[in-house]
């Protein structure tokens, strides 16, 4: 009781700073798990292995750019000149049809978002991209639906995908990475979404009807395609969609200095951010403890035992982070979702609704809490040993 009273008094005397730190630390702790997750050796290894898989699979990306009237990009001039048969070949529909058949070489992926909430609703892996998915998909089925780890209870049930009732057959693990060379997602960020794997073109057409050509053109890739096939494809896209299309191989993409620089910069930024956040936290706790060092000395002098002083420092350190820890747990245990409702009179209402608790998020929050506790404990041990050494030299340190 005496200890708690003293800790409360310490915290009360730092109240203004405590509140400011609490707000800033809440924001920091909220972003920390994501930053640390992206820097974990597992995550980096996974990224490297996926890049290697795609390089081995001889993957080419078919990139498109809109061309404004009267302009032709410089790179287009060069690339068009390289193409063997620039403006001849089969119609796009035909190429897509064959390319997305089971024997074809094309694939794509896309994320479809819920219109009202802007939350990911479906993640599609189509054609050859199914083989690059983070899970094993049976080769004999046209559709294979998986739920995210948080919705594992959906397995065995049926869900509606574009008006069709389809069974959920598996789960995509939370630590899986959904990878396309130019954009990657952690499966955990796509929680609540359904993962739809489609191997053949007929199924794509059945699901997307008239919009299927537009659909497959996004994030289009070719696996093991030769130059002539790629040339035919890009010329058909340019001809029929009015967009400038070009091919970028995985070798070109990863070998490009800009891309390599982007990856390094990204990594450096994340390392820097984690380092800066943890350093700021350590320095602030350390500063706060040192501020009361004189008082701890007086208590020690008049009989406060060492474990008592250490406990006081430790509880003060934890108390300092209580607002931020409380905030992240509140967000985990009482998640909320924003919804938008469009009314016929043209008005839109934005409402906040209570969401479901995610076990994966709870684990992550527990991990973050553990990390904070470890940092606080380490700082307190360091500060206590420093204090003990100083006190043992006498009150004037002569």
């Amino acid at each position: 009781m005496k200890l708690l009273r003293q800790v409360m008094k310490d915290l009360r005397r730092e109240l203004a700073w405590l509140l400011l730190y609490g707000v800033l630390a809440s924001m920091v702790f909220d972003t920390l798990p994501g930053l640390i997750g992206s820097l974990s050796s597992g995550s980096l290894r996974q990224l490297q292995s996926m890049e290697e898989d795609m390089r081995r699979a001889n993957l080419s990306m078919i990139r498109t750019k809109s061309i404004r009237i009267g302009t032709v990009p410089d790179e287009a001039r060069i690339r068009f000149a390289e193409l063997p048969e620039p403006y001849r070949g089969r119609p796009l529909r035909r190429i897509i049809e064959e390319g997305f058949s089971r024997e074809g070489r094309l694939g794509c992926w896309a994320i479809e978002y819920e219109r009202e909430t802007n939350e990911p609703k479906y993640v599609y892996f189509v054609g050859k991209y199914v083989d690059l998915a983070p899970i094993e998909v049976p080769t004999d089925c046209d559709y294979y639906i998986c739920a995210s780890e948080d919705d594992a209870d959906l397995v065995g049930k049926t869900v509606t995908v574009f008006g069709e009732e389809l069974p959920v057959s598996g789960v995509v693990p939370g630590d899986a990475m959904i990878y396309h060379p130019i954009s990657r997602y952690s499966a955990e960020n796509l929680k609540g979404a359904l993962f739809v794997f489609i191997r053949d073109y007929e199924s794509v057409r059945r699901l997307f009807w008239y919009s299927h050509i537009t659909f497959v053109n996004d994030n289009l890739i070719a696996v093991g395609a030769d130059k002539a096939e790629l040339a035919e494809l890009v010329s058909a896209i340019s001809r029929e969609t009015g967009k400038y299309a070009y091919v970028q191989t995985m070798e070109e993409y990863l070998g490009g200095s800009t891309q390599r620089m982007r990856q390094y910069t990204d990594l450096l930024f994340r390392f820097g951010a984690v380092f800066a956040l943890i350093t700021a936290m350590v320095l602030n706790i350390s500063r706060a403890i040192r501020r009361w060092e004189g008082e701890y000395s007086i208590h020690r002098l008049f009989g406060a035992p060492e474990p008592f002083v250490f406990a006081r420092m430790l509880l003060f350190g934890f108390g300092y982070n209580l607002i931020a820890i409380g905030f992240i747990w509140y967000k985990t245990l009482f998640p909320s979702e924003w919804t938008m409702t469009y009314y016929s009179d043209g008005t839109t209402a934005i409402e906040k609704a209570r969401g479901a608790i995610s076990p994966a998020a709870a684990v992550k929050t527990a991990e973050t809490t553990g990390l904070i506790a470890a940092v606080v404990l380490a700082v307190c041990i360091f500060e206590f040993l420093r204090f003990k050494k100083k006190f043992a030299k006498g009150m004037r340190g002569e």
Partner: protein, 231 residues
């Protein structure tokens, strides 16, 4: 009877990789109950280190500290804390008061760690100590709103509130003007003469030391001379 004694006390500090300072070397002394002893000497002569070792704040490298013939410097940390709390009252040059707390809370502080004093006694003891030092009307104030002399009286009240028999004062008048210096010294003499406490003072001020029963002069970490105040 509370006689505090030191036998061959030594303490050295490492100040850099190859440099060691012998703060106190082989100090022998005995301070009997009810006397007031001054330890004097130039800066760096080891006065405060000796006082800190006598008061169980600093552990000596060698030698012993004895209280009524019983060795007290080798106690384990927990027992040492309890012992320090029950037997020693400390008075510092910079008062060592907690500015954020009231005078009452400052005086009460040692009792928080004394298991023999009941919670219900706190108020009575604080008032008695404050009254004896003429600061009973200032119990609600913060130390920062008191004069230097009043602050030092608060520190003395804290040093006697648990009936500690030995008061160790490190330059207790160092931050005070002449008038307050005399007042504080009178209080310490009174505690010694009329209330039977043993007082040990570290000071630079020879006129202050002259009022003490006994003077111990230190030089280069050694006790150079001992004599009575009048001498």
């Amino acid at each position: 009877m509370k006689t505090i004694a030191a036998r061959g006390l030594s303490k050295s500090y490492k100040i850099s990789k190859d440099s060691v300072v012998n703060a106190v070397s082989g100090a022998d002394l005995e301070i009997s109950e009810g006397g007031i002893t001054a330890i004097v000497g130039p800066s760096g002569s080891g006065k405060s280190t000796l006082l800190n070792m006598l008061g169980l704040i600093v552990r000596p490298d060698s030698g012993e500290v004895l209280l009524d013939g019983e060795r007290i410097d080798s106690m384990r940390e927990g027992k040492r804390c309890r012992f320090r709390n029950a037997n020693f009252g400390y008075v510092m040059q910079d008062f060592a008061l907690i500015d954020g707390e009231s005078v009452y809370s400052n005086i009460r502080l040692p009792m928080l760690y004394n298991k023999k004093i009941r919670f219900t006694e706190y108020r009575r003891r604080v008032h008695e100590a404050a009254e004896s030092l003429g600061i009973a009307d200032k119990l609600r104030r913060k130390p920062s709103r008191l004069s230097g002399g009043e602050r030092q009286r608060v520190a003395i009240a804290r040093a006697i509130v648990c009936d500690q028999p030995i008061i160790l004062a490190d330059e207790p008048t160092g931050s005070l003007d002449a008038e307050n210096r005399d007042i504080v010294m009178d209080i310490l003499l009174d505690l010694c003469k009329n209330k039977g406490r043993t007082v040990v003072i570290v000071t630079h001020d020879l006129s202050l030391a002259a009022r003490c029963d006994r003077i111990i002069r230190m030089k280069d970490g050694r006790i150079a001379e001992e004599n009575n105040g009048e001498e």
